[in-house]
């Protein structure tokens, strides 16, 4: 245990000597895919609740497909599947993008988390109190202003508990990134395992680090809920 810590602590946390590795890569994957997913999910959620079927059905199909298949299969499709197509290899821009495992992992993760986030946000938008929207319309707000001033601020707050689950699940999902040769935390643990044959210690260290980040996220979201969902806190005490 001590010898693994002495020799590999840097690789587990931030660098394997030549490039970023371990925890830093995992956190980067999480941050960028969750950020892209969040930004795309807001317009998609608005489209998902639209009464126009031509707008809402395609979004439904997207979330249905991405929520109905495993993330690992989606990553394989993007990393090994798309790159095996000959026209991708012959187009230099596409070739450069899909050759890199990191790009593929980020694309797959962002698409996946965006699908779940869209449904979470859409659910929250649907649950907006009818009177609030009516009041906004009575003030003569346009559709856009209604969403910007009334619906989205309250819906995103109410989505917070569901969204926090999604972010923590996404942290766990980033562990499949090593199958696309991304040097994330689990990749380091696997390398240490094959170098030392101390499986329990090698994977246990990674598990401990994932656990720490999970707890940190739970704590951070609890703070966020205290701030933005203060009105929902039970009275008394």
């Amino acid at each position: 245990m001590i010898d693994i810590l002495n020799e590999y602590w840097k690789a587990y946390l931030f660098s394997d000597g030549t490039r970023w590795s371990g925890l830093v890569v995992t956190l980067w994957l999480l941050a960028i895919s969750v950020a892209i997913g969040f930004v795309m999910a807001i317009p998609l959620a608005v489209a998902r609740v639209s009464s126009n079927k031509w707008v809402s059905r395609p979004v439904w199909l997207y979330t249905y497909v991405f929520r109905g298949t495993p993330l690992y299969v989606q990553l394989l499709l993007i990393y090994t599947g798309i790159y095996s197509l000959s026209f991708v290899r012959s187009t230099s821009l596409l070739d450069a993008f899909f050759r890199d495992g990191m790009h593929c992992a980020i694309l797959a993760f962002a698409l996946n988390t965006c699908a779940y986030t869209t449904e979470i946000f859409a659910g929250a938008i649907r649950a907006t109190a009818h009177g609030e929207v009516e009041a906004a319309r009575a003030y003569g707000m346009s559709k856009f202003t209604q969403f910007r001033r009334i619906i989205l601020p309250s819906a995103l707050r109410r989505a917070l508990p569901g969204y926090s689950n999604e972010v923590i699940l996404m942290l766990h999902c980033t562990s499949v990134a090593f199958t696309a040769t991304v040097p994330d935390l689990l990749k380091v643990a696997r390398d240490v395992n094959s170098a030392t044959y101390q499986s329990f210690e090698a994977f246990g260290l990674a598990a401990l680090l994932y656990l720490t980040v999970s707890f940190a996220l739970v704590w951070a979201f609890r703070q966020a809920e205290r701030r933005w969902l203060a009105f929902q806190r039970p009275l008394g005490k």
Binding site: V65, Y72, T80, S84, S175, S199, A207, L211
Partner: protein
């Protein structure tokens, strides 16, 4: 030729995935029921063990636990057989997959069942005791049936997540639908088509599960008045 000769292999892989998911579900439900009873028991030690189990397992990624257990169980088993002077027993990916998935999702089922047990009004149990039923009788005749109704949506969610998690077992070498489609893709130089096929098979599995769950929910909520909203 049907799927360039890989058809039977892919069918076998799909069957492997279904078997894996169903057996893991069984293990997870049993662990979940025991865990929920432990969490609700008056014994402090049992409660703490169950809380530690659910907190720990739900904080660590499935894949990390799977690899941890897959390699460690083999090493521990080797040490045990060496110590006993037996021949080495090598465990196969299928049983490891069932045990680890069951062990992991047992933690999620524990939480589902705990919430469902707590949702059964205590007056129901009191009525049972007032009729002179024993503890196990109250559990079997009154608590369990009503609990299942509250647990069903949670069970459905966990099942859908579990089905998708089975894809990870191909990483430890099980010939499931992911693994066989990868092989078919490599063999035919049509990776894209075969991975897409795997995705479609999973989509079919989750769609069928959705329909079954909707049917079950209708059955279990028969006789419950829905709230007019």
């Amino acid at each position: 030729m049907w799927l360039e000769g890989y058809g039977p292999l892919i069918l076998a892989g799909t069957w492997m995935t279904i078997k894996l998911a169903l057996l893991s579900l069984l293990v997870a439900v049993v662990i979940g029921l025991l865990g929920a009873l432990a969490k609700l028991s008056p014994n402090r030690l049992l409660r703490n063990v169950a809380t530690g189990y659910t907190t720990l397992i739900r904080g660590i990624p499935d894949l990390v636990l799977m690899l941890l257990l897959f390699y460690s169980i083999q090493i521990w088993l080797n040490e045990l057989t060496d110590w006993l002077g037996w021949e080495q027993i090598s465990i196969d990916p299928f049983s490891t997959g069932v045990l680890t998935l069951g062990f992991i999702y047992g933690a999620y089922f524990t939480e589902t069942f705990r919430g469902a047990f707590q949702s059964v009004p205590s007056g129901q149990l009191e009525a049972g005791y007032a009729y002179g039923m024993t503890g196990p009788q109250v559990f079997r005749r009154i608590l369990f049936g009503q609990m299942m109704r509250f647990a069903l949506p949670g069970i459905g969610n966990n099942w859908q997540v579990l089905v998708k998690a089975t894809a990870l077992v191909s990483i430890i070498g099980l010939a499931d639908v992911v693994k066989v489609t990868q092989e078919a893709g490599k063999g035919t130089y049509n990776m894209f088509g075969f991975v897409l096929l795997a995705a479609l098979i999973y989509l079919a599995l989750t769609t069928v599960s959705n329909l079954v769950l909707m049917w079950l929910e209708r059955r279990y909520t028969a006789g419950v008045r829905s709230m007019p909203l």
